[in-house]
Structure formats: structure tokens, C-alpha cells
């Protein structure tokens, strides 16, 4: 099976300084993979490379089999329409209402308003937002609601690949659970592939088939969470706070 996402010996840099070298992993279609690591370890930069916002210093990134670094602009834009990205902090357009924010990707595709409206309502509903939030401005929303609107904006395009950067941060446990249920449901029904950056162990355990741990400028480990939890490597144990639990 061809991977949905494939990194081959990629070097990730930030402002010209290499922060990750020899990055190589695959994400298979329909898989939910977590990317974890300490703050500043290069997870978000890795995600930016995946969207094509940054270029890798070396190596190759493939999405749905397409070589990202060799794609012409138009094809890259077309490819991006298959990817939903939830940025850290939401990145909502502050001058647009919630409805307009979520409708924006559909407007760009030239859909008629009569189709856009129900799609936006569904996306808001999937993200756990009440219909009354549609006319509000982002400045009128709480932090958790901003994340959910951003999620709705991702979901409205029915993405094949969902990239989530810290999606559950700022959400209360109930909303976080609802979010996890939505992602699981989407994955189950539509076979969406998900690559998620998170520090939320609960979300990682419930959602991810596999976890990739980033640290010390490279990929430290990769595998199922229950397998990684058995690891004796203190760096890996630190991510799962295993020593804290066993040696309080």
C-alpha cells in the first residue's frame, strides 16, 4: 500500500540551522499517527515542511505518492486542497465571522452558497459547536472555541489527510473527548489519515495507532504506544512520564 505521507532522509532546518536530520517515516492511509517531542524539537517545523510552507534542506517528502519538492505551484495547490491543517492557536481570520472562516475554503472552490451553508453547519456540528456561534467574530470566542472553529474549517473540505498541531490544547476534557470521538469517527467512516502533534497523552493513547518520538535532532523512536511504554530508554520513558508514575 502506498503511504499517504512519506519522509525519506529529510533534513529539517529552521532559519538555516538544521534541527532534525535523517528523518524517515511513513504514514499509511487511514492511519492516525502522533508526533511527540519536547517543545522546540522541530515538530511544528516538520509539519510546515509537510504542507510545503518550508523546503527541506535535503531528502524527499511525498504526499499521496507525489514528490512535494518537485511539484509545480498549481499541483501543489491542488494537493493542499486534500489536506486539512489545524494550526496551533487556530489561525482564524480575525476580520471574518465564524461562518465565513469555515466557508472560506468552499468559497475558494466556487461552490454555490446553497451548498456551502449546510456544509458549514455540519462542520460546526462535527466540531462540537452550537449553531449560534456562526455569526460571531473570532474575538468573541474562547480559546477552546477558536480551536474547534479551526477544526471545523479543516473538516469542511472533507480532507483525506488531516494535520493537527496541538489540537486538544486549551480544550476541557469533555470537549477534548468529543474532538477525539469526531476524529475517530472521521477516520472510521471516511478513512482519513491523521498526523497529529500533541503533548496530550490521553488523546494520543485514545487516537493514535502509532507514535513517533522526536528529540536530540532526530527521530528517537517509532511504534505503538503500548510498546513504547515498555521501553527502558529514559528519554522515551520521560515522554510518557512513566518514571513519575512508578516513582512518585
Amino acid at each position: 500500500m502506498e503511504p499517504a505521507v512519506s519522509f525519506e532522509n529529510v533534513e529539517v532546518d529552521y532559519d538555516g540551522k538544521p534541527i532534525l536530520t535523517g528523518v524517515g517515516f511513513n504514514v499509511l492511509p487511514g492511519e492516525i499517527v502522533g508526533l511527540v517531542g519536547a517543545s522546540g524539537s522541530g515538530k511544528t517545523t516538520l509539519l510546515r515542511h509537510l504542507i510545503g510552507l518550508n523546503q527541506p534542506a535535503q531528502g524527499e517528502i511525498r504526499i499521496f505518492g507525489e514528490r512535494l519538492n518537485q511539484l509545480p505551484h498549481a499541483s501543489r495547490q491542488h494537493l493542499r486542497q486534500r489536506i486539512g491543517v489545524l494550526f496551533q492557536g487556530g489561525a482564524l481570520f480575525s476580520s471574518l465571522t465564524v461562518f465565513e472562516n469555515v466557508a472560506l475554503p468552499l468559497n475558494e472552490r466556487g461552490l454555490e452558497d446553497s451548498w456551502i451553508q449546510p456544509m458549514v453547519c455540519l462542520a460546526l456540528s462535527l466540531a462540537g459547536l452550537a449553531p449560534e456561534t456562526a455569526p460571531l467574530m473570532p474575538s468573541e470566542l474562547s480559546g477552546g472555541m477558536v480551536t474547534r472553529v479551526a477544526l471545523a474549517r479543516c473538516l469542511v473540505i472533507e480532507p483525506e489527510l488531516l494535520l493537527l498541531d496541538e489540537p486538544t490544547s486549551g480544550l476541557d476534557p469533555i470537549v477534548s473527548d468529543a474532538f477525539i470521538a469526531v476524529v475517530l469517527n472521521l477516520q472510521k467512516n471516511l478513512g482519513i489519515t491523521v498526523l497529529m502533534i500533541s503533548h496530550d497523552l490521553r488523546a494520543l493513547k485514545r487516537l493514535c495507532h502509532r507514535v513517533i518520538i522526536v528529540g536530540e535532532g532526530r527521530l528517537l523512536a517509532e511504534g505503538r504506544i503500548d510498546n513504547l511504554e515498555q521501553s527502558r530508554d529514559p528519554r522515551i520513558r520521560a515522554f510518557f512520564r512513566l518514571d513519575e508514575e512508578t516513582n512518585p
Partner: protein, 376 residues
């Protein structure tokens, strides 16, 4: 990704079945022409084979595909559906999706009364802004007095940085625009007075117009456009990013840390820029006049202090100081007014330039009337 297709199959027992095939997803149906065609096709088959079951099992469906089928079936609902559990859940999700509000609740005020409300609100807004500017000026004076008592607490580094940003970085453009305006005045005045023995009158026109009006006004307009807008935008972004709240939380007075250095810098820099603008305006104005009238440039320069009283220079410089304070008050006040959205930042920055220039011109007009006997 295969195209969406529909096929009607009639079995040997005469029973018809509609098969939905291919990809019925947002990606394949986003094309308006194709969407219209598929809608018509669904409608046509649904009306023609009213008793036929619809088999969706061979189709790839997403929410949009399900929506298209569901909305088109409204005219002729299929009697039965053959679908996978995942497809059933897509339709079920549409069943449970509530319609969302597109607008907040309507304006209760009668349509004829809305202009009146707009006038009242606008006037109220203007008065409130003037009140807040006066309040801010009073705060600035208090901070100034407190700085004189405790000079060790004055944010000297901030003041120095602002003087550099507003003054040093602005001298090039002020010199350029001052020179160009001087050339225009000198050339036009020279042309009008050609053939008359009115050299002293020419020096008077250039000297008075540059020292009393054009020098201070040009410097004010350039500083309002260049630095006033930058101050509003900078404070606005700081407010949006929560930096001002962070200062408050640390026990630092944001007004003293952020507003005071900028106001002091503008009050210091503006008179200097007015003098700078006057110098280039006069030099180029007299130079252009000398060339137009074929007269001696040094003779015109020597005549200047005898014909134009020096008080005009001080009058212009003091006006510059007042303009600087006005620009600073407007820019900092509107930076403070920025709300947490990008649109507000743009609006307040524009307002800052427009309001500062308007107030500067208003004050200039007032000064022209009040001090009409000064300097002549």
C-alpha cells in the same frame, strides 16, 4: 479518483435498481457543471423509477456526496436504500445537523431612526475621543512632572530609541519634501513677480510661507503619516498579543513605559524637524526664485532676516512642538483602541493618520487667526 456515475438496471423480474457508482465526494462534485449534471440525473432517475431501490454500496461517499443525494431526493424520495453502515452514518449525521444562524438577531430600531442614531453615535464618538485625548494629555503632563521630580525613573532608553526612529530616520524625507515645496513656492512666486522690482516682496512671501506654515505643516504631515501610523500599529499589535496586559501583570505602568517615551520623543523631534524643513524649504525656495529672476542667491539670503522677523521662525517651531504632541496623543490613543482583530488594526492606523492631520490643520487654522498680528 473516479467520476460520479449513476446507472439504472432493470432485472429480469422487471424490478429496477439505481446504482450509484464512482466517487461522490467534494473533490469530484465541486465542479459546478458536473454538480448540476449529477443533480439533474438523480432527479430524473428518482422521478422515473419511483419504486426502485437505490444501491450506494459501490460508491465512495463523503458528507458532500450524501448531501447532494439527500437534497436532490427531496423531490422524489427513494423507497429504499442499499448502503453500507458508514454511508448510513453520513446520512444520519445530516439528519441531526441543525441549521446555523448566519446573522445575529436583527436591529430592533426602526429603519427611519437609524440615521439619527448614526449621527448621535458619531457625535458622541467625536466628543468621547476629544475627551480621551484631553485625559491622555493630562496624564502626559502628570508623567512629565513626575519625571522632573524623579529623573532616574525616566525610560531614557525608550525615549532615545523613539527619537532615532521618528527623528533621525525621518530627516531624509523631510529634507526632500521641504526642498521640493520650497522650489515650487520660489519658482511660482518668481514667475509672478518677474518684471517687477519686488525682490523684498518675493523674499517675504517665501520666508513667511515656509517659516510660519509650510515648514511645520509638512513636517507634521510626514511625521503623522510615517511615525504616527507606526506608533498606532505597534501599540495595536502589542495589545492584540497581550503584551500590554503582561506589562500590567508585572506591575509596570504601560502608559509610562509605552506612551510617555513616544510623546516626549515627538515633542523633542518635531521642533527640530520643523527647523530642518525650514532650512531646506528656504534654501531651495530662494534658490529657485534667484534662478527664475536671474538675481543673486546670496543677496536674497542676506535680505531674509531683514524682511522676515525672526519671531516667525519661533512661531513655526512652537507650532511644531504642539503638532508633535497632538500626533503622539492621537497615535497612542488609537493604538490603545485596537481590538483583537486585523481589521481593527488597519482601521485604527488609518484613523490615526487622518485624525492627526485633521487636528493639526485645525490647530494651524486656529493659530493663524489667534496670532495674526505676530511676526508681521
Amino acid at each position: 479518483m473516479s467520476e460520479p456515475r449513476l446507472a439504472a438496471t432493470v432485472h429480469v423480474n422487471g424490478q429496477a435498481e439505481i446504482r450509484v457508482q464512482g466517487s461522490w465526494t467534494l473533490k469530484t462534485l465541486a465542479d459546478r457543471k458536473r454538480l448540476k449534471t449529477m443533480e439533474q440525473e438523480v432527479s430524473r432517475l428518482a422521478s422515473r423509477y419511483r419504486e426502485a431501490p437505490w444501491n450506494l454500496e459501490a460508491a465512495t461517499l463523503d458528507h458532500f456526496g450524501a448531501l447532494v443525494l439527500r437534497e436532490t431526493w427531496i423531490q422524489a424520495q427513494p423507497v429504499s436504500l442499499i448502503q453500507t453502515p458508514a454511508q448510513a452514518s453520513l446520512f444520519a449525521r445530516w439528519e441531526h445537523t441543525p441549521p446555523c444562524l448566519l446573522q445575529k438577531t436583527g436591529d430592533p430600531l426602526h429603519v427611519w431612526l437609524r440615521p439619527t442614531r448614526w449621527i448621535v453615535e458619531t457625535l458622541g464618538g467625536v466628543l468621547a475621543t476629544v475627551g480621551l485625548l484631553i485625559n491622555l494629555f493630562a496624564l502626559f503632563l502628570r508623567q512629565l512632572a513626575s519625571s522632573l521630580i524623579r529623573p532616574q525613573k525616566v525610560p531614557w532608553a525608550g525615549i532615545s530609541r523613539e527619537i532615532y526612529e521618528i527623528g533621525v530616520k525621518g530627516i531624509g524625507i523631510v529634507a526632500l519634501v521641504g526642498s521640493l515645496i520650497g522650489i515650487v513656492i520660489g519658482y511660482l512666486a518668481g514667475l509672478q513677480l518677474q518684471g517687477f522690482a519686488l525682490r523684498s516682496y518675493l523674499v517675504f512671501i517665501i520666508g513667511i510661507s515656509v517659516l510660519r506654515e509650510l515648514g511645520p505643516m509638512l513636517a507634521a504631515i510626514l511625521v503623522a503619516g510615517r511615525s504616527g501610523s507606526a506608533i498606532t500599529a505597534e501599540l495595536g499589535v502589542m495589545k492584540i498579543r497581550g503584551e500590554i496586559d503582561a506589562l500590567r501583570a508585572m506591575g509596570v505602568d504601560p502608559a509610562y513605559r509605552l506612551l510617555f517615551p513616544r510623546l516626549v520623543a515627538l515633542a523633542v523631534v518635531m521642533p527640530l524637524l520643523v527647523g530642518w524643513s525650514d532650512f531646506f524649504g528656504l534654501a531651495s525656495g530662494l534658490g529657485a526664485a534667484a534662478l527664475t529672476l536671474h538675481t543673486s542667491f546670496p543677496a536674497l539670503v542676506r535680505a531674509l532676516p531683514q524682511i522676515v522677523p525672526i519671531v516667525n521662525l519661533w512661531f513655526g517651531v512652537i507650532k511644531g512642538l504642539c503638532f508633535g504632541v497632538i500626533i503622539g496623543l492621537v497615535a497612542t490613543h488609537l493604538g490603545w483602541e485596537v481590538r483583537a482583530d486585523a481589521g481593527s488594526l488597519g482601521q485604527e492606523t488609518t484613523r490615526s493618520v487622518v485624525l492627526a492631520i485633521t487636528l493639526v490643520i485645525a490647530l494651524d487654522a486656529l493659530a493663524a487667526v489667534l496670532f495674526q498680528r505676530v511676526g508681521f
